[in-house]
């Protein structure tokens, strides 16, 4: 894994540091004790060691720039090959969310930085000439002629957007380990109130990792849900879960509702062939589905996501009974099952329930 080098905090009250010089260049091997750079704070200039053996992959803040404490200023890769890969991604965004968050905050601080100087300069004319502090501040800007600095735009709805929730709802969610983002992704309206959190399903404990189970089970569901409310829900979810996994979560909810099963394991795959076996996916929260580990044990239901293809359903060679529901052009569901193992009424109830959930995703929450 590439290692993010952060602007260190060298003093208690320090909130930024000036990079005086880099002692290593990208592509150069570094040892943990090697001096990587010099950082100047308002108190002192210090040499900062690399802190990690590896190869300096890239430098994100050139010498002479002032960087807020905690921002990513360089990336050290494990070896030359990884360094090359990191460098290829230009800004190193692939190293993880920390880098992109740092990017955003750096952009904000850069844009805001000149503001204090401008403000001081504005006050300067009223200060006596030669007055130490005010004079120094005034000299950093040029009073009225200083260009207006645009404020950074308000954060758009996205990764760092704060979800609106009442204090009580937020507290209850924290106590129960419920992800507010998942509630929003599942269709909850904002501000989220306590009642929504109270009635949300408990998140499932993350199952132990296991080998990805093949898509094989007694009942096989094929689904095409490219134009339903479910699809709109996925488009709004951030991060968007893989469609097949989200369908599996909905199917698990409908299965649980129809059969009353205490736990539901759904094997799922899309046409790109990324199979997974998920336990109680309906309780995991949409935004966490991507990270849900594979479940042990046989699947109750196998799901094949046909969205985006022209296929409508497929029936395994072993056959059995098939039920199909289409919702106009919005979705098409087809269930092939063995009546000896899944009675027809239960199968029908399950498929009907799933169709309702795709039409109105709020049902998945209730």
């Amino acid at each position: 894994m590439p290692h993010d080098v952060l602007m260190p905090q060298l003093g208690m009250a320090q909130d930024a540091g000036l990079i005086v010089a880099w002692h290593k260049a990208p592509g150069e091997a570094v040892a943990a004790d090697d001096v990587l750079m010099e950082v100047e704070t308002d108190k002192a200039t210090m040499e900062v060691p690399a802190g990690r053996d590896g190869v300096l992959a890239l430098i994100r803040a050139e010498a002479g720039t002032e960087v807020p404490v905690g921002d990513v200023i360089a990336i050290i890769a494990a070896d030359a090959a990884e360094a090359a890969r990191v460098a290829d991604t230009k800004d190193g965004a692939s190293t993880g969310s920390a880098a992109s968050v740092a990017d955003a905050s750096k952009a904000a601080s850069v844009a805001e930085a000149p503001a204090p100087a401008e403000k001081s300069a504005g006050h300067a004319p009223s200060a006596p000439v030669g007055n130490g502090a005010s004079g120094a501040a005034a000299s950093t800007g040029n009073g009225a002629s200083a260009p207006a600095v645009p404020r950074p735009a308000a954060p758009a709805a996205g990764a760092d957007r704060r979800i609106l929730a009442s204090p009580k709802a937020r507290r209850a969610a924290a106590e129960r380990g419920i992800d507010l983002a998942a509630l929003v992704a599942a269709g909850a309206t904002e501000p989220i109130l306590y009642e929504t959190v109270r009635t949300a399903p408990e998140p499932a404990a993350t199952p132990a990792p296991a080998a990805a189970a093949a898509v094989a089970a007694a009942s096989i569901l094929t689904a095409d849900a490219g134009r339903s409310a479910f699809d709109a829900l996925l488009a709004d979810a951030d991060p968007a879960p893989p469609r097949a996994r989200a369908l599996a979560a909905f199917a698990a909810g409908a299965w649980r509702a129809a059969t009353g099963a205490a736990s539901v394991t759904v094997g799922c795959a899309d046409l790109a062939g990324s199979p997974a076996s998920l336990a109680d996916a309906d309780r995991a929260g949409l935004t966490r589905l991507a990270d849900l580990a594979d479940a042990d044990g046989p699947a109750d239901l196998a799901l094949v996501d046909l969205t985006g293809s022209r296929l409508t359903h497929y029936r395994p060679a072993a056959g059995g009974t098939t039920l199909t529901i289409t919702g106009g052009e919005a979705f098409a569901l087809s269930l092939a099952f063995d009546e000896a193992r899944l009675p027809l009424p239960l199968a029908a109830r399950f498929l009907d329930d799933l169709a309702r959930r795709l039409e109105d995703p709020i049902r998945q929450l209730l």
């Binding site: 009442s166 204090p167 009580k168 709802a169 937020r170 109130l193 306590y194």
Partner: protein
Amino acid sequence: MREITLSKAVNEAIAEEMRRDPTIILMGEDVAEAGTPFKVLSGLVEEFGPERILDTPISEPGFTGIAVGAAMTGMRPIVDLMFGDFLFLVMDQLCNQAAKTHYMSGGKLSVPMVLRTNMGATRRSAAQHSQSLHALVAHIPGLKVAMPSSAYEAKGLLKTAIRDNNPVVIFEDKLMYQDKAGVPEEEYLIPFGEAKVLREGRDITFVATSSMRQVAEKAAETLSAEGIEAEIIDPRTIVPLDEATILASVRKTGRAIVVDEGHQSFGVTAEIAARIAEKAFYYLDAPVGRMGAMDVPVPFSPALEDLTVPTPERLAERARATLRGEPVHAA
């Protein structure tokens, strides 16, 4: 239990205390033979004589100053301020002298004085005789402020005020003088700083002072028919304020609207709402609502005057919106 008017309850409280303690005197405009414009004090001068029930000239700063001095030197005066609006005339006597004497004398002097006055709009008395100015004195450390919400509270709080060794301002709603409530024959006192839960409910808390109690009770009945259960808290004294009872209620319901007849801005609703937000923040499922009087001089026009004060209908609608989680735009 017998039911008597708020006016009669005040009269009884003063008479009982004056019989008990000969140092109690009462002074103000038209308090003796006239018994005040609201006939609250009728009969007192006949029992206690003009030496203890003192009619004064129209001179609020003068007789309030006399009362402060009398209180410092061993008497227990009750000042009758005919309209709460006249508080502006006695601010120095009340806020600079009475409120601070105990503190500034190092505890050597105290001012066991009660200033009785009134509040409340919709009596068609225009802008200078309709104000509810209790927030003004509640702002001043050293003054206690009581706001009875019925005849029962009026008697119990006034008796406690008279026995208090420090200055107390008690506001009676002039629209409530003829309202009856159950008042025991036997003596009772209502301690300061103890709010009363008038109605229990699970969905929203109304904190309502003085006559806003009636507004809250009517709104709660309407809402109850719709399945919304409001809890009503009457603080009874706003200084000292029984935070514990208010906060316990809000922690239970998760929502609160504070209703008071003073002007909304910088008023009692703001103070109580702020304390709820500070101390029960993580229990709140909605912003704390405030409903006070409109920030305008009280109009003389009856049609306009009625629009300036909280009503059961507006409170109920505000409560419904709060429960629906709607953002608040109303002033």
